[in-house]
């Protein structure tokens, strides 16, 4: 950018440059572009095509697959379940992560660094190990917090999961436990971008740590918080692993079609109705795509690039 300004006549050299770079760009970008099409764009388009084809006749099905999906008895409840989960989990996630970030940011030196490491550890055990941990936590007989379950009168994991609202709380706790560490780093990155002068000025003006966090730091990391909310909304909405694992642990207690993605999986696998699976995927894809565009264009991710 600076070079073109110095050159004085930015137009002509720029166009020339664009021409000279396109051949090497094809070589360098081409392989990635190919994979982007094969593993990103093509499956999406293919799902759209499949969703319009009847699985039984192989002919054009119009919107009948969509009708099948929407009228499924688990369709609305699965969105309701996930909606309720988002309602419970997102506030916990946002308040928890931002609160922890402000606490760590206020603790300079070794103590802050150590605590950051401790808070990050749960994020390092993603996936199945995390689930095994929760299987241990949730079994009232062997749990490290058995005293807690006893106080609540819970005696078995099946009993615990047979209440739908317990499932929501448990999933919210699982998602917070595994997700907070990475997001803590991101929000801290935002806090570190606040210049020292601003903080010093506020301290000199008589701001205590509490007011500093509430009045100065919090408004300044608003873009990061927006990113946190939207990305986690998109993730929570897509949830598959956690309810699928809970359903496997408490067989027959929790519906294996708890979330929309699980319903889509059931259509593809257990039922073998690819048209319906594709239709549901397309519905999820459109919502996620909308969220994605919102994140990329509105949270400043593009400008930072």
């Amino acid at each position: 950018m600076a070079a073109s300004v110095i050159a004085g006549s930015p137009r002509v050299p720029k166009r020339k440059r664009a021409l000279t770079h396109s051949a090497p760009a094809v070589v360098l970008v081409g392989p990635f572009l190919l994979v982007l099409v094969v593993a990103g764009a093509l499956p999406a388009v293919y799902a759209l095509v499949e969703s319009l084809i009847s699985s039984t006749t192989g002919g054009f099905a119009g919107l009948s697959n969509y009708l099948t999906v929407i009228t499924n008895f688990r369709f609305l409840p699965s969105f309701g379940d996930v909606g309720l989960l988002l309602l419970v989990w997102l506030p916990i996630m946002v308040v928890g992560v931002v609160g922890l970030a402000l606490l760590v940011d206020a603790s300079r030196g070794r103590f802050g660094k150590t605590m950051l490491f401790v808070y990050y550890i749960p994020a390092a055990l993603a996936g199945i190990t995390n689930f095994m941990l929760w299987l241990l936590i949730l079994d009232p007989n062997v749990s490290p917090i058995a005293f807690f379950w006893k106080a609540l009168g819970q005696t078995s994991i099946d009993g615990l999961l047979s209440s739908p609202i317990n499932v929501i709380w448990i999933l919210a706790a699982m998602l917070f436990y595994e997700g907070s560490g990475s997001w803590l780093l991101i929000v801290l990155g935002g806090l570190h971008s606040i210049s020292d002068e601003v903080i010093e000025a506020a301290e000199i003006d008589g701001c205590n740590q509490w007011r500093l966090a509430w009045r100065i730091k919090l408004p300044m990391i608003a873009p990061w918080i927006g990113y946190l909310v939207l990305m986690n909304f998109a993730y929570g909405f897509q949830i598959f692993l956690e309810p699928q694992l809970l359903a496997a642990a408490a067989q027959g207690i929790l519906s294996p079609q708890w979330s929309p993605n699980q319903l889509s999986y059931t259509y593809a696998y257990s039922v073998g109705n690819t048209g319906a699976a594709a239709a549901l995927s397309v519905i999820l894809l459109i919502i996620t795509l909308g969220l994605g565009v919102l994140i990329v264009t509105k949270t400043g991710l593009l400008e930072r690039s």
Binding site: L36, I128, T129, N141, Q238, A248
Partner: protein, 311 residues
């Protein structure tokens, strides 16, 4: 500018000592509360984890009252024998499968991400901004949304249970492209690229001779994050690799858990799989990630700001 001068004047004036002492008195009361809260949260997060790590040293019956306790090494050995006895040691097959597909995917991710990140950061070409937009879009969309569409695609070309589709999909790593993009944008001096052009190197030549030797940080980060993302991925291999023999350890473990006496007492296994055994299997399954994590520490710290964009 204006506020800075005010700031300096204020700092220089006599106002300074007063708020500082006042601030300190506030800080000491506030600090105690803050430290106490932070330590308490830390304990709450670590306590269940300690339970998981200690579980293999205990026996199922000794765990019956909950809480924490340290058992014996003999119990760990017993638990390991049970894991190895499950389905004639299929646990080892799962670990090997995971290494093959995840390392393959991470290497492909590096090969694809580094050049394209470089081109997006340093070259002018038509469609560049669209490509950046598409990369960011795929980066922020949860990858679970494409799993069922990918399943339909892979099933159509009859490649279920093959590692190749998995490796290609793991190799498609927009976050890696983003990391490489940021790296070349911020850490590669433009003068070096210009010097390369002066010396008559082609753009491709500049990439290989100038950019690649300086890309160690980007390669390490893409490799690390790609490896961890692949190792912990569950949904994709769960759907694309239906056979037990071709499962990665994450999917295999779910099967082990589902068929254990813990979850399904009626099934009648040849081995005893209860909490201590399953906890050990879950811990062993994560050891490669921990090893890579420690090995990549140096690069992670330097790239903390870059890596902080996505977990």
């Amino acid at each position: 500018m204006n506020s800075e001068t005010t700031l300096e004047t204020v700092t220089a004036s006599t106002v300074k000592p007063m708020p500082t002492t006042k601030g300190m008195r506030h800080a000491t009361a506030g600090t105690v509360v803050r430290v106490a809260v932070m330590v308490l949260i830390g304990i709450m997060l670590m306590y269940p984890l300690a339970g998981l790590l200690l579980a293999p040293t205990r026996t199922e019956s000794s765990m019956m009252h909950g809480g924490l306790a340290i058992g014996t090494w003999a119990n760990v050995q017993y638990a390991w024998r049970q894991i190895m006895g499950f389905d004639s040691g299929i646990f080892v097959v799962w670990m090997k499968n995971t290494v093959v597909m995840v390392v393959g995917g991470a290497i492909l991710a590096i090969i694809l991400s580094v050049p394209s990140g470089y081109a997006m950061a340093r070259l002018q070409f038509r469609g560049r901004s669209w490509l950046i937009f598409a990369t960011l879009l795929f980066m922020v969309m949860p990858n679970t949304v494409l799993v069922i569409p990918l399943f339909l695609e892979v099933a159509t070309v009859h490649m279920l249970d093959s590692f190749w589709p998995i490796i290609v999909i793991y190799g498609f790593y927009p976050f890696g492209v983003y990391l490489a993009f940021i790296h070349f944008k911020t850490a590669l001096p433009m003068e070096l690229v210009e010097a390369g052009r002066m010396d008559g190197l082609s753009e491709i030549g500049i990439f290989f001779r100038v950019a690649v030797p300086l890309a160690r940080q980007a390669v390490a980060l893409v490799g690390f994050f790609g490896f961890v993302a692949g190792w912990t991925n569950f949904f994709l291999p769960y759907v694309l690799l239906p056979q037990t023999q071709s499962s990665p350890v994450a999917v295999g473990l779910l099967q082990m858990i589902s068929s254990s006496q813990l979850v399904n007492p009626e099934l009648g296994l040849n081995v005893q799989l209860y909490m201590p055994e399953l906890a050990l299997a879950a811990i062993v399954a994560m050891i490669p990630v921990m090893v890579i994590f420690i090995a990549a520490q140096r690069y992670l710290q330097r790239g903390a700001m870059m890596g902080a964009v996505k977990g």
